[in-house]
Symmetry: C2
Subunit: 186 residues, 2 copies
């Protein structure tokens, strides 16, 4: 870890601790985990809130890479939608899965103006935009509406995995498939 900058170590520690222990992790624990003094932390981030938002923002591309097919442009729109829910099944089956990091953080943060909430909204909007393009390519009449429905299925599947402590195989795929079929043929 000696070659990682204090900033990187703080972002790594924040990503780990906030996800595993929740948003109430203290500054002391974060600095200890990162091997960084509190003084250095406050030189790099104005507040714990800003560190949380920055660590979440940094993790979005990785979470999306796990969820979205890498060769999306080459796939028909329908397959592109369904593949997300096949991949989501692997994401929630990870024994370390504790919920969608962005939705969970929004739920844990009780302060509506917390800077990390904006990351959750951006994550939602990015996922919805992916579904919207795929739905439009599939020939769906109202791709925006289907896209919001599919994002809802993502959130529901991640919540369910947490509530039950295990995934429900096939549920996300079946739900997304039904919504897609209804949007195309209903």
């Amino acid at each position: 870890m000696q070659d990682a900058s204090a900033r990187t170590r703080l972002l790594d520690a924040a990503a780990r601790l906030f996800y595993v222990d929740g948003v109430n992790v203290g500054v002391e624990a974060l600095c200890r985990e990162a091997g960084v003094s509190k003084k250095s932390m406050y030189e790099l981030f104005r507040s714990k809130e800003e560190l949380l938002a920055a660590s979440l923002a940094r993790s979005v591309p990785g979470y999306l890479a796990a969820l979205l097919p890498p060769d999306a442009d080459a796939m028909p729109g329908q397959n592109r939608v369904l593949e997300v829910f096949e991949r989501l099944e692997n994401v929630v089956a990870d024994p370390n899965f504790r919920g969608c990091p962005y939705v969970s953080t929004a739920i844990e943060l009780k302060a509506p103006e917390h800077p990390a909430r904006a990351i959750a909204r951006q994550f939602h909007d990015t996922l919805t935009a992916f579904f919207c393009t795929a739905a439009a390519d599939a020939g769906v009449k109202n791709p925006e509406e289907l896209a919001r429905q599919l994002t809802l299925v993502h959130d529901g599947i991640t919540a369910r995995a947490v509530v039950h402590g295990h995934p429900t195989p096939g549920l996300g795929l079946a739900t997304a498939g039904a919504l897609l079929a209804q949007a195309l043929n209903g």
Copy 2:
């Protein structure tokens, strides 16, 4: 409040503080809010965890009463399903809404064996059973599967309202309607 027992006051305080501030509220704050000594609290509840589970369990009937139509038996199965999502729109539109209390608590609790998690599972199972009966009455071929999908929509709508800080009118009803139509005619 003088006529309420210490147990009731603790359950009321727990319901308020855990919902508004999160599961990390301390025993001191709970006892202060309830006007009960820590000694009395530990005579009534073995732990903060048990108090949280008891306060959640007590609130389930009230949450379900807001969500489920009171005259369900007199309604056709389809209307019974859709009415839940009309009612859910009012639930999430409350300015004090901070997420489904049971799903949120399961997400906030990082310990899988926490007693309050069982309440979230029971809530899910009760809601799914309601949908299952309604779906069977509506003539759906696989009512269990549709019921799990509809519970997923409930969770997704509550999560979305938290992430965006406001409800998305019509989304739950449209999603549930599409799933119902696909289950009946697809």
